[in-house]
């Protein structure tokens, strides 16, 4: 800690520098995996940033902790017009902003803050639009295309006016990039000539305020004593510890060692290889849940021979998915044939993955005119993702499997940014890709990754354009009736499976080792992990 972080600590003006050691009894210590890329979640699409923002900021709506229900947050209630083009939100009263040395709020949260937060991202001429990175990725992709304007009805009522129906809007508003920032703070910093400070020294309304941040080392939060959940008596959503500390520990084995020795009480993203040991550890509870992800091999259908369905199916039969689950997911994932994961509504449990059958694969290849197989390249994800713990290892297994039917695959990989860019340009023949859902609505990933429009933008990594499937997706996002939408998504999944749009690996399981003294921790699957409602016992 020194020059760059000291101003932050000073600016926050809280006890960081005065406290030599924080009493451990009331501090919840979490071993997290990386530094956030931004402290202002509006710029980010990374879980590391969401996890921080989940503590500091609040949104209009929220996802129930550990579940997929959308519940009120800064908006107490809402009404949707019949044409689904106008959403009116009643805002919560008595919500206080955090204070810091450089900023003392003079008013409580109101409609101006909502307008500021949305307009900063919506309006290219907004004075704050170009402050900071200016890349409002989530907003730009999910909300902006259908948002016409944000109107202030009165101090505690705002209205979102849409250009076209956007069924997943309420879910999308619960995600961290839609956090509400203080308009008053922004004005004060603008006046002081340091507008970018609002992104570096965040002021929110959340249950914890940021105390100090040391890049790649530690993030400290302090519980807000007069948070609105205290008055409301909402135990599940209030801070139950005084201090929350994220210890940034990139190595999973180290996170495990630290939770075992008690240096951390919770370790995020364990190494699948360590799960067996965690189960036998007497001081640790191993929590488990199925994450909402999609992890697949994309066969680039614009490249020969992958335009041929028989070739794709042959490769699906030739890939021993259970072995990959065993070696790569350490036996914790479940094979799947449904493009929508089981943790989301509209998941189709009746679709069965193709069983490993090299003979059938050979026959299909012969039928397609490749009796001797062919040569191809196989892209392996170079980084660890929740949906793909070890891309290289999976690629090595697939390579060995395919060699048995005569398909010679050369493994290739690039730096992650390069990988994504080339993937979008469609340079791959066969590539590993994947997504995780940020909010509980099937449309998010399906619309991003599998429409015909996505072929042109490159977001459709398999470059798979099926008119019926694509239309089903488009239609589903214009209607608000969930049962109707569910039917359309199920139809999509059938086509996806039948046409072998991609080869799905598994629905990954999320695990979190938690020390026994931690009470009521729940794994959260959408957006950042909240640490409210968690307490420390004996």
């Amino acid at each position: 800690m020194s020059r760059s972080t000291r101003p932050l600590a000073l600016a926050l003006g809280l006890g960081a520098l005065l406290l030599p050691a924080i009493a451990s009894a009331q501090a919840l210590v979490v071993c997290s995996e990386a530094s956030p890329d931004f402290l202002n979640p509006q710029f980010s699409s990374q879980n590391t940033a969401y996890d921080v923002a989940a503590q500091i900021y609040e949104r209009l709506t929220a996802t129930e902790r550990g579940g997929s229900q959308i519940i009120p947050s800064l908006a107490e209630s809402w009404t949707i017009s019949d044409d689904a083009l106008s959403y009116t939100f009643k805002l919560r009263k008595g919500v206080k902003w955090h204070a810091s040395k450089s900023f003392t709020p003079t008013r409580e949260f109101n409609a101006d803050d909502v307008l500021f937060s949305f307009n900063r991202m919506l309006d290219a001429n907004h004075p704050y639009n170009r402050v900071g990175s200016g890349n409002y990725q989530f907003f730009g992709e999910i909300v902006k295309p259908s948002l016409k304007a944000v109107e202030k009805v009165d101090d505690y009522t705002v209205r979102l006016v849409l250009t076209k129906p956007n069924a997943p809007l309420l879910s999308a508003l619960s995600v961290e990039p839609m956090s509400i920032l203080s308009a008053e703070y922004a004005a004060a910093m603008s006046k002081a000539g340091t507008p970018e400070q609002i992104d570096f020294a965040p002021i929110g309304t959340g249950p914890f305020s940021l105390l100090s941040y040391q890049k790649d080392a530690v993030i400290r939060f302090k519980a807000v004593p007069d948070h609105w959940t205290k008055a409301a008596g909402d135990r599940d959503r209030m801070a139950l510890v005084n201090d929350l500390i994220f210890v940034i520990t990139p190595d999973a084995a180290v996170r495990f060692a630290k939770v075992r020795s008690g240096e951390c009480q919770i370790a995020r993203y364990p190494n699948p290889g360590d799960l067996a040991a965690m189960k036998t550890e007497p001081t640790i509870n191993l929590l488990q849940g199925s994450i909402a992800d999609q992890s697949f091999l994309a066969f680039n259908q614009q490249k020969k021979p992958f335009g041929d369905r028989r070739v794709r199916e042959a490769l699906a039969y030739a890939t021993n998915i259970p072995a990959i689950i065993e070696a790569v997911y350490q036996g914790t994932g479940k094979p799947t044939a449904s493009a929508v994961p089981p943790s989301l509504w509209s998941h189709d449990p009746d679709l069965k993955p193709r069983a490993y059958d090299p003979e059938k694969a050979k026959a299909l290849l012969k039928e397609a005119g490749y009796p001797e197989g062919f040569e191809t390249t196989l892209w392996a994800i170079p980084v660890v993702r929740a949906y793909m713990p070890n891309g290289r290892r999976a690629a090595e297994l697939i390579q060995a499997d395919w060699a048995r039917i005569g398909v010679k695959a050369t493994i290739q990989t690039f730096e992650w940014g390069e990988y994504l860019k080339r993937g979008r340009a469609g340079e791959h023949e066969v590539g590993m890709f994947g997504y995780t859902w940020d909010y509980p609505d099937p449309s998010q990933i399906l619309l991003t990754g599998w429409t015909c429009e996505g072929v042109a933008t490159g977001a459709n990594r398999a470059r798979w354009c099926n008119k019926e499937a694509s239309d089903a997706l488009a239609k589903a996002s214009t209607i608000t009736d969930q049962a109707e939408r569910s039917k359309l998504y199920k139809r999509f999944q059938e086509i996806f499976h039948e046409d072998v749009a991609g080869l799905l690996f598994a629905n990954a399981q999320a695990f979190t080792p938690v020390r026994k003294e931690v009470k009521d921790y729940k794994i959260h699957f959408f957006g950042g992990q909240p640490f409210v409602g968690v307490s420390l016992g004996k």
């Binding site: 999973a252 084995a253 495990f256 060692a257 190494n271 290889g273 360590d274 067996a276 040991a277 021993n320 259970p322 072995a323 065993e326 070696a327 392996a380 170079p382 290289r392 290892r393 690629a395 090595e396 297994l397 390579q399 060995a400 493994i411 990989t413 730096e415």
Partner: protein, 301 residues
């Protein structure tokens, strides 16, 4: 920057009868060096006959035996004597095939570095002036960069892979060879026999390659032997950082990188590749030390 001042150029041994025999007498008296030679012989044997000795194909995965321990541990079996890795490949077979790679890496890197190094060193030492200054400044700059960082950046530019890793390591170690050659050339070219040859009208190139170079051979041979060990270590470090040989190549450093996550669970996947690196590198260092002692007359007293 004062490395060359420490390099004591070899002077001709001066003992006319059978220099080879004399060398062998000194060399064989050094038990460590002989041991190093024997180990290198063994590694070479493994590398040459890997297909015959190895019980399995090094890249053959077996879904039934993920992470089997070595045979002497419970759950292990003699068909996988040193156990298997995370996707059921035989570790012993991979190590044997890996020996090929490590030897090739070591020798290729040194070969590239020595050829380029000699040429640059001869030019710098013989022509002096601008050429000397330019070459030596460039070498200084290369030496100021932490070598691994430089190698990583070069690999990042060229793309990960065995060939590129070798090239990167060769570039990184190049300055040593240039400096040694240059220092030796400068020391030699002031000697009488060179002056005599020059006076009698020998051509420059001839002079450089047939008169001066053979007389700089001793320090270069020592440096080359020690250089093999450095090259193996550096290439393994690149592999460990995921920038060396790409899967499924059984390179030792790459094997270690894959094994890192099993530190807590499967000690054998972590231990054996590292041991293989250590033993091979140690053998080359022992040999290099022995050669230096045998070739360096200063220590012969």
């Amino acid at each position: 920057m004062s490395a060359e001042t420490l390099q004591v150029p070899a002077t001709p041994a001066g003992a006319p009868p059978h220099p080879a025999r004399e060398f062998w007498t000194y060399f064989s008296a050094n038990r460590g060096a002989v041991a190093g030679l024997i180990v290198i012989g063994l590694v070479l044997f493994c590398a040459l006959f890997a297909p015959l000795i190895a019980p399995h194909d090094p890249n053959l995965t077996n879904n039934a035996v993920f992470l089997k321990p070595p045979f002497w541990q419970e759950g292990g079996s003699l068909s996988y004597p040193l156990g298997t890795d995370a996707i059921g490949r035989d570790i012993l077979s991979r190590l044997l095939y890996g020996a090929r790679l490590s030897l090739v890496i070591g020798i290729a890197v040194v070969a590239i570095a020595i050829v380029v190094g000699i040429v640059l060193g001869l030019i710098a030492g013989f022509f002096k002036g601008i050429a000397d200054i330019a070459i030596m400044r460039l070498m200084d700059i290369l030496m100021t960069m932490p070598s691994l960082l430089l190698a990583i950046v070069i690999v990042a530019i060229l793309g990960p892979g065995l060939m590129n890793a070798m090239l990167a390591v060769a570039i990184v170690v190049l300055p040593h060879y240039v400096r040694i050659t240059r220092a030796a050339v400068i020391a030699e070219s002031s000697k009488d026999y060179v002056v005599a040859a020059q006076v009698s009208g020998a051509r420059t190139a001839r002079l450089m390659f047939s008169e001066i170079l053979p007389n700089c051979a001793a320090p270069l041979i020592v440096q080359a032997t020690l250089g093999v060990s450095t090259a193996i270590l550096d290439a393994a470090a690149l592999g460990f950082l995921g920038l060396g040989a790409q899967p499924p190549t059984p390179e030792w450093g790459t094997m270690l990188a894959d094994a890192r996550e099993f530190v807590l669970r499967a000690w054998w996947v972590v231990t054996f590749p590292g041991l293989a690196i250590l033993i091979t590198v140690l053998a080359f260092n022992l040999l290099g030390d022995g050669l230096r002692d045998a070739l360096d007359p200063k220590l012969k007293r």
